[in-house]
């Protein structure tokens, strides 16, 4: 007997354990690789410290410089919209907070569900826009790999199934909730092995960037 509820319980039980284990092991492997490689000692006289500029760049790089915004407004705006939408839905939707609390004991206030559902709808539209952009813009077409499309599909599936589950547009509900959880688990599993790693490593990369420029006296 394998119905929708059994499927949901499988995604909430054994599959979740597998996914979270692969995610945690894989991600820590990745981050350990980076830090173990480290940097060589720098003998050049520094103009400024590395930590301050490094931390600043970790945050400031989130906002594009005005020139880049003018030259690639679509890239910047759509990228922003869907990232913020995804993060809001991930971190400020009550069921997700309950999940995080069960794993970590940490919790925070949620946004009202209609806000989240609106944000998710906008995110879906923005994600479709990014795909169209990737398939049509000459640079993005040229540099895109199978992985880019795979990752897009997984991220889109996570948001779409979440949206379908929220509006209960697929019956029975445990089926669509299970699909949502499963797609999120696939995303967790893929995360350490694809560009999704940037969710974590971008802050390391930005720090290195900010530190390298910072010690030369430029806030990058």
């Amino acid at each position: 007997m394998s119905g929708s509820m059994e499927f949901l319980l499988w995604t909430k039980g054994p599959m979740f354990d597998i996914a979270i284990a692969i995610f945690a092991i894989g991600l820590l492997v990745r981050i350990t690789e980076i830090f173990m490689l480290g940097r060589k000692k720098n003998f050049a006289e520094a103009r400024a410290g590395e930590w301050g500029p490094g931390f600043r760049t970790m945050f400031t790089r989130t906002v594009a410089d005005p020139g880049t915004f003018q030259r690639a407004p679509f890239n910047v705006v759509v990228g922003w919209v869907w990232h913020i939408g995804f993060l809001m839905a991930l971190l400020l939707f009550l069921p997700h907070i309950a999940l995080i609390e069960s794993l970590t004991g940490l919790s925070w206030p949620a946004l009202p569900n209609p806000v989240i559902s609106l944000v998710t709808s906008v995110t879906l539209v923005a994600l479709i826009a990014t795909l169209v952009h990737r398939m049509t813009h000459p640079v993005k077409r040229r540099i895109s790999t199978v992985e880019d499309y795979l990752v897009w599909a997984v991220v889109f599936a996570v948001v779409l199934t979440g949206w379908l589950a929220y509006y209960r547009l697929v019956n029975p509900y445990p089926l669509v909730l299970g699909m949502h959880i499963l797609s999120a688990e696939i995303m967790l599993i893929l995360l350490p092995f694809t560009k999704l790693t940037h969710i974590f490593t971008t802050f390391i990369a930005r720090w290195y960037n900010g530190a390298a420029f910072g010690r030369k006296g430029v806030q990058s």
Partner: protein, 421 residues
Amino acid sequence: MSELTLERGLAAFRAEVDGPVAAFFSSCVHCGICAQACPFYLETGDAKYTPILKLEPLRRVWENDFTLWGKIKGLFGLNHKVTDEMLAEWEELLYDSCSMCGRCSMVCPVGNDLALMIRKSREGMVQAGHAPEGLIAASVRAIQTGSPMGLQWKTLAVQIQHVQTSSGLEVPVDKEGAEYLVLLSSMEIINFPEYLEAITKIFDHAGVTWTLSTQCFEATNAGIQIGNKDIAAQLVERVVAAAEKLKVPKVISPECGHAFTAIRWEGPNLIGRPYPFRVFHIIEVLDELRAAGRIKTEGMETDRLSMHDPCNLARKSGVIQQQRNLMNLVAENFVELKEHGKFQWCCGAGGGVSSNERAEPLKMAAFKRKKAQIEEVNPERMVTMCATCRTQLEEGLEEFNMEIPVVGLTEMIAEHLVEKN
């Protein structure tokens, strides 16, 4: 005789992979924003010039040899290897179409320092025997003759003679214990001899003790441009030896961009030890003298002036405010280019592109970005502080029939010095 091979190249690529490289490649999401910062892509519209794509060889080495996932893929033969053919194809991307201006490093949303990785990639390219002929020739000349252009002291000696005659001032040579050792670039000596006369006047005016060294006058470093530590380190060692011999506490890098980053930031790491002296760009020194009140000027330039920040000086070395202070000292009608300072646009000639003859068409294409910037503010003259940039600006403006003279900032300051009685 040993030769440069793919294997040596791959080993060199591997030796360049460190924490930042791993973090950068782990983070790239293929958003393509770097292309929007690259004059070579923007002015040709060819997507192969997207900066991150230029780094594909290094990325493959990283993925195959430094990630668990890459090793697993390798077990099943699923990884993409770096081949000799690939490197041959990438030679154009890593040299001809990149001036290492670092603008992409400033805009990458995930914080990748792409220019750093280009520099690292060139190490592998040289070892694999895939560097452009022009840069190889310049490197060989630099090692063999002391100058990438094959210039010798006797040519400089003639210049010194001219300067002394026209200024009536002494050009100090091999003066032990001077405060500053002044380095020059071959291009300056040949194209812009005014520079030597200008600093002679300014230092005399400000009462600075300085000297040239017959042992080493060349500041430029072809090894940095081609991307080889061994060549670069030898060239740096010459400067260090000269400075140590003359016991100077400070060394001045001339109006040349890469020479400054080479001696200032890479040098100590190339030789593996800190310097016993400090390194300054001439603009830094002039601004310090200005701040100390040791430079007195009279009269102002009245025409509409704008300024080109050399990438190596501004974005890559943090010298941004100094040249503006000096401009304001002598120019009353100074207008900034729209994007300047750390967000300035490259002239298109840096990073060895100007020494790489076959890259000439790309170099001129990339210049169109600078040209558009200049057209926007429509100055009567351009001011800059890098001989390579200055040459490129002059050639480019001439190519497009724009009658805008280019002047060096140091010379302009020298022209306004208050005459001593």
